[in-house]
Amino acid sequence: MPTTSPTLLRLDGIVKRYPTVTALDGVRLDVAEGEIHAVLGENGAGKSTLMKAIYGVVQPDGGTIEWRGAPVRISDPVAARELGIAMVFQHFALFESLTVAENIALALPGSFGLADLAGRIVEVSRRYGLPVNPWRSVHELSVGERQRAEIVRCLLQSPRLLIMDEPTSVLTPQAVEQLFETLRALAREGTAILYVSHKLDEIRRLCDRATILRGGRNAGEVDPRAESEAHLAERMIGRSFPKTQKRAHARGAPALRVSELSLPPDGPFGVALHSIRLEVHRGEVLGIAGISGNGQAELLAAVSGERRVSPTEVCLSETPVGHLDAGERRRLGLAYVPEERLGRGAVPGMSLAENALLTASRKGMVRAGLVDWPAAEAYAARCIREFDVRVGGPHESGTGGASATAARSLSGGNLQKFIVGRELVQQPGVMVLAQPTWGVDVAASALIRQRILDLAAAGVAILVVSEDLGEILEVCDRVAVMAGGRLSPVREVSDTDAAEIGAWMAGGFLQ
């Protein structure tokens, strides 16, 4: 019974201030031994900062941390590991060219033989249902296997508390189920688990208790199994849960066609594409599901024009554009929201007005080679207004207004709203979006998804590439899956389900 177990970790009044923002403002958190405790919150709610404080990556400016009843100061991750705290990060820290066993050896203190270690890895992986081959190189592993290697690495340190930061964002539905089994087994043996996520259905399925954070403060502690998803969401975002609405839309003529696209890999870890064929019609949303690293990046580069291919492999309406660069394809009505927001979709150090100019320059912002800055500022201001982009506190609105804010000072969700807005306001004929709501908070995700649906209703052809199966099923009319550089057959969303798509994500359509 988790509620009666002794308290393992107690945080009280934790404060963390950064020069421009207070990330944590008096946060409280209790974790009992052997419980699976969710930390639920939107992006920017302070979840990551709180976990970093527990794992010793950041030092809080105030508040107390008690570990098994005694106050502690966790000065760095080494100190955290000595206490028995382990953390699986969202982005794995594994060396691609080393084997699983070598990677794990690097993280463990003391000296031991690699063969012994491999034996222990196999033992732990068998005990918790985490199949991992210690002798394989990391670059050969799928994302799910890498995550298992990370978890095994943590488990070998016999932690009393395991922190999992957004662990399911890269897993197939089947792999998620498998991970949950592992976590439940660990909890039964007395290991506490802090499960950080914004996915409500997972938290309701897995967790005993949930601490909800909003804007760096506690917004309640609840039993997620006893609450409705809508109620949880309301607590998390502070208002009622936005719902997307599909509008009636008719499928028109094909606007984007990829025919027999085959490409060699563009690097040692690149993926080759094998005769990809797809058609996106006006007024429909085609989704491409699948785990990242199965050729999506390569396909997107070929569609967007960042990588040029032979002319007829990519067509916009009936015009072959495979040989054109990204700018020339934009001129023909293609818009693209890339997966990486900072550094690709937006220049981090530049203002929003400058970032509007980046791709929307053709919308009357350049005359005779000179930039009409007021026009760029007006365009940025329009994106900010229409897409509800929050550009930080009043202290940031300097002389140039909101459009003078640097892209890097926006939160992930707000930057994504800006980028999506910038592309949509250009009124494209074909819109391509990669991971449109990855790492974006609930309210922003709902807004972005609704805009995608509205755009389809207005007759735009839309291609959405996403790892988030829930998102694909929510916004798409038809869906295909990428695995191993190949594209599965295309299905109507109404004729398929998560189980079939999940099997395809693991390569099931290739037989």
Partner: protein
Amino acid sequence: MIRLARRPAPSRVMLWGSPLVAVALTFALGAAAFAAMGQPPLGALHALFVSPLSDLNGVAELLLKASPLCLIALGLAVGFRSNVWNIGAEGQMYIGAVFATGLAIHFQERWGVWMLPAMIVAGIAGGLAWAAIVAALRAHLHASEILVSLMLTYVAALIVKYLVFGPWQDPAANNFPFTVSFEDNALFTLLANYLGALEGTRLNTSVLLTLAAIPLAWVFMKYSFAGFQLRVAGDAPAAARYAGHSEKRAIWIALLIGGAAAGLAGVTEVAGPIGQLNDRWTPGYGFTAIIVAALGRLHPAGIAVASLLMALLYIGGETAQVALQLPRAIAYVFQGLLLMLLLACEVLVNFRLQWTASIRSSQAA
């Protein structure tokens, strides 16, 4: 103990403050160096930095030296903003001077008033041509523009030597390595001809070109779409590809603007105070301009101020030689110190100094 702590955002104060800190540290270390050599530090600094400006002629000489530095640095700054590191402005300046000299000595008085404009065009073309080699190798063969532009500087220097020791040598020069002196129509007019107050100074109309170039560069960087594309290419190459800006075009523009400015600076020298081509007419303007561009934060106004400071170092070096019997190389010591400290202080933009140990509260530097 001092620790570097990353700032959450680059400091706006330090963006401009760090060059000032570097200048202050340069003066401090320089004064210490003078003291070590047995010179009274304040007197030496006075000789270096104040006494050259004590009369009109000194100020005129300062402007004359600052002008080519400023011109070259303006061109380089455009490239530096797009992360294209043209280190070979010196060579591009040589070739600009060679092209202009070719016209001046072969067509002499035949072209009348058109001679100087033609030389300006030829000089720019020379700088462009030399930079084009770098651009072609970088854009199409991925050769490092840093190495290629630097090595081409030595090629350019040898070309100048070959010409002034060989085919272009003044027959009346007793085998000294220089060309004939340019005719009046191949020289920039002295400003003293228009402004009596400048009587006796060597200041000429070429400084007007530099004065015009400063706002031009500012407009290019702030208002031109090409300038914007260069900045994107420098800040975030992936974003430039995503937006469909041509990477090759950015490399070409960045190098050609630097080459053109350097070529023009070459003309202003040979058709200005030098009045001929010889094998040792430049005190390294092309290299010093790199420091000027960095010191001026790649901003035209900053560059204008920085070029004055670096020119002062050149002139002060000469004064120090006369007044204190110090080697002229003292100017280069200061240049080196300044560049090194400039790069070191750059860290203050993104980091702040923290005194750790027993003091828990962090102190900003």
